[in-house]
Amino acid sequence: MADVDVLVVGAGPGGAAAATAAKRAAPELAVLLVERDRAVGTPVRCAEGVGDAGLREFADPDGAPWVARRIRRVIFLAPDDTEVAVAEREVGWILDRTRFDAALAAEACAAGVELRVGTEAAAMSRDGGRWAVRLRTSAGGGQDETVRARVVIGADGVETMVGRWAGLDTRVPARDMESCAQYLVQGIACDPDAIYLQFGSAIAPGGYAWIFPKGPGIANVGLGIVALKADGRTARQYLDEWMTHRFPDGAKTGYTVGGVIVHTTVARTSGDGVLLCGDAAHMVNPLSGGGIVNAMKSGRLAGGTAAAAIRAGDATATGLAGYHRAWMALLGDDHRKYYAIKQALERFDDAFFNGLARTVNAIPRDRRTLGRIFAAALVRHPALLPVAARFFV
């Protein structure tokens, strides 16, 4: 039985950030990063959009091989297809997640982390103050090996098993699960420097549809729905209808599905010898559904916390408790406010958004910021005021 200090389960952006942070904080520690899939960064279950400022905390996108496209504007589409472009500024990037995730994992390896791909955590139990984790390798007929770790960091995504094995409640109410489907589409006409977001109860009930360009004429075209609000069709069926409406001649050269948890951070993100980060701990922005940078920020916190706790000789729930507090102060408390806004927006119908689009389009384009859009929404619908008060206080 092999022993490591830190075992990170899942080599997405959160897991790679966690492993790198742990190793850099305490180079004497043995840090093992395992990935179930045989190649880091595949399959991609993501629209691949990321904000500029958050990304730059971790990596420089200028000229990077893992960037697909720089995004300079956001175009909102009302349910009736009215377009609303917001003020142009440095908005963000569309990544090539396969390359991006691999680059982050390579950075972890360069820091001294051991990476094993094609290796999944199959079970986990407490063993003399450590976690005994059964690892199963897809090559070699599914052979098992048990590794003991002082701290396990669960970066194992929406489907987290680490959380459940550790007794942390990672269940999601159905109303807070976005069911998503996405095509990679080629040969379409859209602004390659803009992301498009469309709302509408018939298009994407409980969520939105998106066009995220990866190059001229190429885009991730997808949507997320909340099944409880849907008419019985699946996310894929909603997407097929939207595609037929918007891009009937586009070539669908790729396809993916997945869940996005638009909830607030789980009540407990840590326990004895265990920390959860990223999607596994429901650290996605519940309003936008964005989670890449959040996963990296929480991963970095988790790795640093694990390293410090092991050095201090206390990797119990008490020794790791600072992680939850730090995350809530960093972003978790904000997510509660975003969640309140999400709930408030759910009360509005398509007619409200169609009307809002026309009001906002009356604002000169260079002055059309998100703040002014929100102000216009408040004038049209004073019921939003209590939410705004909570948000801006």
Binding site: R136, E159, T160, R164, R171, A174, C180, G258
Partner: protein
């Protein structure tokens, strides 16, 4: 675990979630929706544990590709 469908009582445990592996994309969306953690992803297979599934149906509608359905236990 009894529920009611209109006026007709029925036993949820009489049903079980079944996954069509030919349709399932192994995305893992259904796992956190399952209250008793009856669904697992293991070596790229999606497995519903018959003894643990309570027949609550929470996994069925959210599946993006419609790979889950309820069936009578048998």
């Amino acid at each position: 675990m009894a529920g009611s469908l209109g006026a007709m009582p029925f036993d949820r445990r009489a049903e079980i979630a079944l996954v069509d592996l030919a349709t399932c994309d192994r995305c893992g969306l259904c796992l956190p929706l399952c209250p008793p953690a009856a669904i697992r992803l293991a070596l790229a297979d999606l497995i519903v544990d018959a003894a643990t599934c309570t027949g609550c149906r929470k996994c069925v509608a959210p599946c993006p590709v419609g790979a889950l359905r309820m069936a009578a236990r048998g």
